[in-house]
């Protein structure tokens, strides 16, 4: 396992070394590229000044806030439509028409309603993360052992009890996989909204670094966003393993 990890690090380290040597050899003074050491220094400075962490906080508030709203609504809808097939059939056309709308197409709509700021971003993240929450939870509820529903009938359980005692425990592992997927999407969407329009968070700082012709800081933010995304996934994976035992394979999806 460790041997494998070491091999994975060879190419990135080699690329960094080559870039550094090249930058030193040509004495790089550029508006578009920077030496790895300069990128590292810019990143360290931005981190030490607290600016990078503040931006990270802003992005995470929007991403996780939107995730909480969108995913919970989605999971709840998924449970209801998974249990009541008639509702599922009736809402089919509406959901099928709303689902293919690309998240970024809603940026101008949200800006019109909320203006610049947290809510524009949070609402778009919520719209996007609603779908994995809804679709994967519905699929999970449909996959619940039918005999469990026979138990519900013979015990004459009411709806809240059915959801709380039978459905949620049965679908929890698959719902957590959906949550992990949606968490990744939430960060991607938040950063995208910041880069496109919203003057908040890491994406906006990265855009202004790029416009200020500071390639070192721009690349530092790019790498930092990668680190944050990687850490978010690692945390979710750890929690999943801790809470739910062996990992269920993660479905691939875009945002």
């Amino acid at each position: 396992m460790t041997a494998l990890d070491m091999r994975g690090a060879v190419i990135p380290l080699a690329l960094i070394a080559v870039a550094e040597l090249w930058a030193r050899a040509v004495d790089l003074q550029s508006d578009s590229l920077a030496a790895p050491s300069a990128i590292f220094m810019a990143g360290a400075k931005a981190l030490a000044s607290g600016e990078m962490l503040a931006a990270t906080g802003e992005t995470l508030v929007c991403a996780l806030g939107g995730l909480a709203i969108g995913f919970v609504l989605g999971a709840f809808t998924g449970i209801l439509l998974g249990i009541f097939r008639a509702l599922d059939h009736l809402s089919e056309v509406t959901f099928e028409l709303l689902r293919p709308i690309p998240s970024v197409a809603l940026i101008p709509v949200a800006m019109l309603i909320f203006g610049f700021g947290y809510w524009t971003e949070t609402s778009i993240v919520a719209f996007t993360t609603f779908w994995p929450g809804f679709l994967l939870t519905r699929a999970a509820v449909r996959g619940v052992e039918p005999r469990l529903f026979e138990v519900v009938r013979s015990l004459e359980m009411n709806l809240p009890d059915t959801i709380r005692k039978i459905v949620v425990p049965a679908v929890l592992p698959r719902m957590f996989v959906a949550l992990r997927l949606a968490a990744g999407i939430s960060l991607i969407v938040a950063v995208t909204v910041e880069i496109t329009a919203n003057p908040v968070g890491m994406g906006a700082r990265m855009m202004s670094a790029s416009q200020a012709l500071r390639p070192d800081l721009t690349f530092a933010y790019l790498l930092w966003i990668g680190v944050v995304g990687w850490s978010l996934n690692a945390v979710m994976e750890f929690v999943q393993k801790r809470l739910l035992g062996p990992a269920v394979p993660l479905p691939r999806s875009g945002a």
Partner: protein, 252 residues
Amino acid sequence: MILQRLLWLAASTAVFAALVVIWHLVVENGLINRVFLPTPVSTWEALYAGILHGSLLGAWGETVRRMIYGWLFASLLGVVLGALIGMSAQARAYMSGILEFIRPLPASAVVPVAIVLLGLTEYMVLAVIAFGAVWPTLLATVHGFASVEPRLYEVGQSLRMSRWDVVRKISLPNSVPDILSGMRISVTVALILTVVGEMLTGRPGLGSAIISSARMFQAPQLFAGVILLGITGYVSSILLNLAEARLLRWRS
């Protein structure tokens, strides 16, 4: 069975129509300001006028063209690179570090870097689309190549097939389902990045059309553009479903 399906579809369409009527009533009665939410009728008029006499049709064409170019290039690159990496366990191990890091990275995060390198140009938009859309197909191809039944490779060895023949006759056909599911995600990513690129560069397209409608508070034109983007996403996913059903007929 089919009759039942049709009945549900009709009922479901009726529900959607009822929601549109409610939308109309809500706006007509001033419950939501018209500046934010246009009536369905005015949205339809904006859509109709924009397609027949306006610039919406041209903008749509530009967006679709960019999306398809970027997606096709990304798919080709993704399959070739994915095959090269997927072919050997050594290559997979060496690439794992880079792939693990890039997988959760938002594709749009390369936009500021791309703007600095290429400026606010057409090439920048296409480069960002291609770069962002390449990963789903590439990762899916690597996964497909890595999960081919090992005994098939043993058969290849005992038949003394060349490496190229193994790829062409064993690995690639067995990876088609993975590659197609990767390409399906890539097309979604390509559409998103096309819109982002157009919004940022202001180059003609639906992305720049909807953002300028929002700046001028033209809600009907804005919603018309959003609807066209939804249709684009819907049609591309239907076309890929058809292609998948056709190409994977042998599986059923």
